[in-house]
C-alpha cells in the first residue's frame, strides 16, 4: 500500500465513524481527534477499523502515535512492512 492509499483508507474509515464530516478538510499534522471531534470511543473504533482492514497489531501503548493523519499513515506503513518482513 502506498502512503496515499493508506491516507485515503484512514479517511474513509473516519467517515464511517463520523459520516457527517468532510474528510477533505483534514491536514496531515492536525490531531484527528480535534478536527473530527472524535471522542475516546470514536478513536477506539477507528483503531478497530484500521486493524480489521490491515490486520496490523496496534498495541494500546501506540495509540498516541496515530493521533495525526501523518502519524497514523506512517504507523500503518511501518507495521505493514514489518509484518511483511516476518511473513517472508
Amino acid at each position: 500500500m502506498t502512503d496515499a492509499e493508506i491516507r485515503a483508507l484512514i479517511l474513509e474509515l473516519i467517515c464511517d465513524i463520523a459520516p457527517e464530516l468532510d474528510p477533505a478538510s483534514a491536514r496531515d499534522q492536525d490531531d484527528l481527534r480535534e478536527i473530527f471531534d472524535l471522542d475516546s470511543m470514536d478513536f477506539a473504533n477507528l483503531i478497530v477499523a484500521i486493524h480489521d482492514r490491515t490486520k496490523i497489531a496496534i498495541p494500546e501503548a501506540d495509540y498516541n502515535k496515530l493521533f495525526t493523519l501523518a502519524g497514523a499513515t506512517a504507523y500503518v506503513r511501518e507495521a505493514l512492512a514489518s509484518s511483511a518482513a516476518r511473513t517472508r
Binding site: I17, A18, P19, E20, L21, R33, E34, F36, D37, D39, S40, M41, D42, A44, N45, I47, V48, I50, H51, D52, I58, P59, E60, A61
Partner: protein, 389 residues
C-alpha cells in the same frame, strides 16, 4: 384493527414529525418491527410496532408533524380483537402550526375509553421505565396489557437496523435539551458532590487486560467508570429511579443512561439495560453500539425512555471535572472528568498518579448529601478493585 400511534418518547415530547415510513400498506409486520422514523426534538427515532398483522392504512404522510397519540397507521390484526381506543396521553395544547395547516383527519377523532393495563404490568413498566404507550396491543383479558406484554416490549429483539442515513436536526435537539434542562433547574433542587479517585490500579489492570486482546475486544476506561457507577447504585438505590408527582419511585433495575455527545452539539443518553449485571466486555459492546446508532440517528424509542440514572464521562479531551444537570424525572447524574496525571500522596510520599474527579448531582427531594457521599465513596472503592468489576 390496531392503531399505530405517535409514541411519547419522553416527558418533554409533545409532538413529532414523521420523516420516513419503512412499510407500505399491505406489508406484514410483527411485534418489535421498526416501521417508521419520527423526528423529535431529540433527533430521529425509529419507532417499533407492538402489534402483529398487515398494515392496512397509512394515515400520516412523511413530513407531517402531529401530536403524541395521533394514529399514524392502522394495522389489521387478522382475527385479533380490536384494542380499546385510548386518549392521547398529552393534553391538547394549542395546535402546532403544522397540524393547524393540515386538514383534519377523520381517524383522529376524539377517543375516550381507557386502555386496560393490569396492576402488575403497570408496576413492572414503572420499574423498567417503559412507556406503556409503546405497547400497542395487549394479550391479556379484554385486550389488556399484562406483564408478558411489558416484558416483551422491554426485551424486544433488536433486528439490525436498516442502514439509512438521516440528518439530525440539531436545532430541534437544542430545544429539547433546553426544555429538559430548564425543567430540571426549575424543579429539581440539585446538590453537588465530588470526589477525586486514584486510577492507578484500575488503569494498570486495564492495560494488562487490553494488552493481549485485539482492538475490538479492548475496553475503554469509561467502561470501568460505567460499571463502578452502576454497581455502587446497588448500595444506594435511592439515586436510581424517578421522581414523579411528588413521590420517588425506585427503579427495579439499574439502567444507566450513557451520555453521548453528538458532533456539532447535542447530547443524548440512551439506556444500557441492567448495566450492573453486564460484564465489562458486554458493556463495551453496548456502548459501542449505542454511540454508533446515536450518531446515525438510529436509536430506539425504548432506549430513550428507560434510563434510571445518567452517567457522563467527558473522555480524554474533556474538562477535568463535570457538574451535571439531572435529566427529569431521574434523580441523579454521575460525571467522570478527564483522567489527568497529577501529584498524589501515597503512604506519605508524593507520587504521580492518574486521577479522575467523580461528581454527583442529585435531587435533594429524594436524598441528601450523606447518601450522595456514600455513593461516591462506593464508586471510589469499586475502582480500586477493577478485577472485580
Amino acid at each position: 384493527m390496531n392503531d399505530f400511534k405517535m409514541p411519547a418518547l419522553g416527558a418533554d415530547m409533545e409532538a413529532g414529525t414523521l420523516v420516513e415510513w419503512l412499510v407500505k400498506p399491505g406489508d406484514r409486520v410483527k411485534s418489535g418491527d421498526v416501521i417508521a422514523v419520527v423526528e423529535t426534538q431529540k433527533g430521529a427515532i425509529e419507532v417499533e410496532v407492538f402489534a402483529e398483522g398487515v398494515v392496512s392504512d397509512i394515515l400520516i404522510p412523511v413530513g407531517e408533524r402531529v401530536p403524541v397519540g395521533t394514529v399514524l397507521a392502522q394495522i389489521d390484526g387478522a382475527g385479533v380483537a380490536p384494542l380499546p381506543v385510548e386518549p392521547a396521553i398529552v393534553a391538547p395544547k394549542p395546535a402546532p402550526q403544522a397540524l393547524a395547516e393540515a386538514p383534519p383527519k377523520p381517524t383522529v377523532a376524539p377517543q375516550v375509553s381507557r386502555r386496560k393495563i393490569t396492576p402488575a404490568a403497570r408496576r413492572r413498566a414503572v420499574a423498567l421505565s417503559l412507556d406503556l404507550e409503546t405497547i400497542v396491543k395487549g394479550t391479556g383479558v379484554e385486550g389488556s396489557i399484562r406483564l408478558a406484554d411489558v416484558e416483551a416490549a422491554a426485551s424486544v429483539a433488536r433486528p439490525a437496523p436498516p442502514l439509512t442515513r438521516r440528518g439530525l436536526d440539531l436545532s430541534q435537539m437544542r430545544q429539547a435539551i433546553a426544555a429538559a434542562m430548564s425543567r430540571s433547574k426549575r424543579e429539581i433542587p440539585h446538590y453537588y458532590l465530588a470526589e477525586t479517585v486514584d486510577l492507578h490500579l484500575s488503569l494498570t489492570w486495564l492495560e494488562a487486560f487490553n494488552a493481549d486482546r485485539p482492538p475490538i475486544e479492548r475496553i475503554l476506561p469509561a467502561v470501568l467508570f460505567l460499571k463502578a457507577a452502576a454497581l455502587a447504585l446497588r448500595e444506594q438505590s435511592k439515586l436510581n429511579g424517578a421522581y414523579e408527582n411528588g413521590v420517588f419511585l425506585p427503579a427495579a433495575g439499574i439502567h444507566v443512561g450513557w451520555a453521548i455527545a453528538l458532533r456539532g452539539g447535542g447530547l443524548i443518553a440512551p439506556a444500557i439495560r441492567d448495566t450492573d449485571k453486564k460484564t465489562l466486555v458486554e458493556l463495551m459492546a453496548a456502548m459501542r453500539d449505542l454511540v454508533e446508532r446515536a450518531r446515525r440517528g438510529n436509536l430506539r424509542s425504548s432506549e430513550l425512555t428507560s434510563p434510571t440514572i445518567t452517567v457522563t464521562s467527558v473522555g480524554d479531551r474533556g474538562a477535568e471535572s463535570v457538574t451535571g444537570v439531572i435529566y427529569p424525572p431521574q434523580v441523579a447524574i454521575v460525571g467522570f472528568g478527564r483522567v489527568a496525571t497529577r501529584p498524589w500522596a501515597v503512604e506519605g510520599r508524593v507520587e504521580s498518579r492518574p486521577l479522575v474527579t467523580v461528581s454527583l448531582a442529585a435531587d435533594h427531594r429524594v436524598t441528601d448529601g450523606h447518601i450522595g457521599g456514600l455513593y461516591l465513596a462506593a464508586v471510589a472503592r469499586l475502582l480500586q478493585e477493577p478485577e472485580k468489576l
